[in-house]
Amino acid sequence: MIGTGSASALFRRDMKLAFRRLGESLLPLFFLFTVIVLIPLGVGPGPNLLARMAPGMVWVAALLASLLALEHLFRPDLEDGTLEQWFVGERSVYRRVLARLFSHWLITGLPVILFSPLAAEMLHLPRHALGTLIISLLIGTPALSLLGGLAASLTLSTRGASVLLSILIFPLIVPLVIFATGAVSMAADSLDPSAHLGLLAAFTILSLTLAPIGIAAALRMNLE
């Protein structure tokens, strides 16, 4: 009935709020760096080992960063009553869900992408693989937000939500991690990563089509 006006208004408000609590919003990015620094401290600074681990490490860091922000994806809105307003008089909250996920991605996925060259350098990822890393992050982090959003919406009104959220999200993102890190590993070995990237893109597109439907259903059920 109302149209994109409400979705873009929601997006503006979300971004306004994110910038108002900038410290909190940048926490995932800081977390990314914690992981990137902690791993070499744990396994030793040997460049060969780090280079082999780099694709997986950057992706695990991206995942953890995304996970941190998932707690705040819907819960604050549930608690102050703004979430139920999405449904007032609306047949479909699809667009608002997409708007919310988009702002989540801007806060978690985009910073990871922007800082990935630095992380790649610190972990000694071969330079020729950097392009593939960035592409894999560009294609894959939206899927992270989509699937994370699904897990967050399912556990929205449960007690002890954060543990459950991590358990739920893990199986959902297994293919994502495999395809993405596989692509970067291939590139690091100077092989063609396009098969992996293609599968990754297909996975993201599938998530984009199906996840918002599940999210909308789960949100409404949790409002009861």
Partner: protein, 205 residues
């Protein structure tokens, strides 16, 4: 006879049990429906069903005009100022009064730049009501609108409701204490009592 909202044989279950018997409700322009009954009987559930927040187990619901819902929670963001909160509502649309006018009508003039978390309970309630003014929505669904308000505030709510009714809008409101000071010929009453509903709303005339 302009029907703004219609519900047929509406049913809802909680913990597997029906909250009320199948309900028929029709809201007409210029009229108000008042839901009364003790705490916990299902007034809020019914309002949320009518708003579209809850999905009914059975029955149908039709909105013939845009609706606004003011529930227990203020539905404003604490980090944003009053103006910013209302600005968001206005953009959701369709746009109604402008921000300063809306704030003035609910008695929050001059508090536009205050972050809403700094407001008292009564002020938050007023801000929630201001949301109704910045959007042009014929259907108002109000859950305990008088809660946390002083006498002046309650009178203000009545004034808003009466203005809205004479503008051709409709109101469904739930209250367990104060009754709206509205002309009786414009009122329909539904009393919810421990799962039994006494009095439905038929179409009159």
């Amino acid at each position: 006879m302009n029907r703004l909202l219609e519900a047929h044989q509406l049913e809802f279950h909680r913990y597997g049990n029906p909250v009320f018997q199948p309900l028929d409700i029709a809201l007409q322009a210029g009229r108000a429906i008042v839901l009364t009954g003790p705490n916990g009987v299902g007034k809020t559930t019914l309002l949320r069903l009518l708003a579209g927040i809850l999905a009914p187990v059975n029955g149908t619901l039709h909105h013939h005009a845009p609706a606004s819902f003011v529930g227990h929670l203020p539905a404003v963001k604490g980090d944003l100022t009053c103006r910013e909160n209302l600005d968001y509502e206005r953009r959701v649309g369709p746009p109604g009064l402008d921000l300063a006018e809306a704030l003035a009508q609910v008695g929050l003039a001059g508090l536009g730049s205050r972050p809403s978390r700094a407001l008292s309970a009564g002020q938050k309630r007023r801000l929630g009501l201001a949301r109704l003014l910045v959007r042009k929505t014929p259907v108002w669904l109000l859950d305990e609108p008088y809660a946390s308000l002083d006498d002046a505030g309650c009178a203000g709510v009545d004034a808003l409701i009466n203005q809205h009714l004479s503008d051709g809008g409709g109101v469904v409101l739930a209250t367990h204490q104060r009754h709206p000071r509205v002309a009786p010929e414009l009122l329909d009453n539904i009393v919810l009592e421990a799962g039994i509903v006494d009095g439905g709303v038929e179409e009159t005339q």
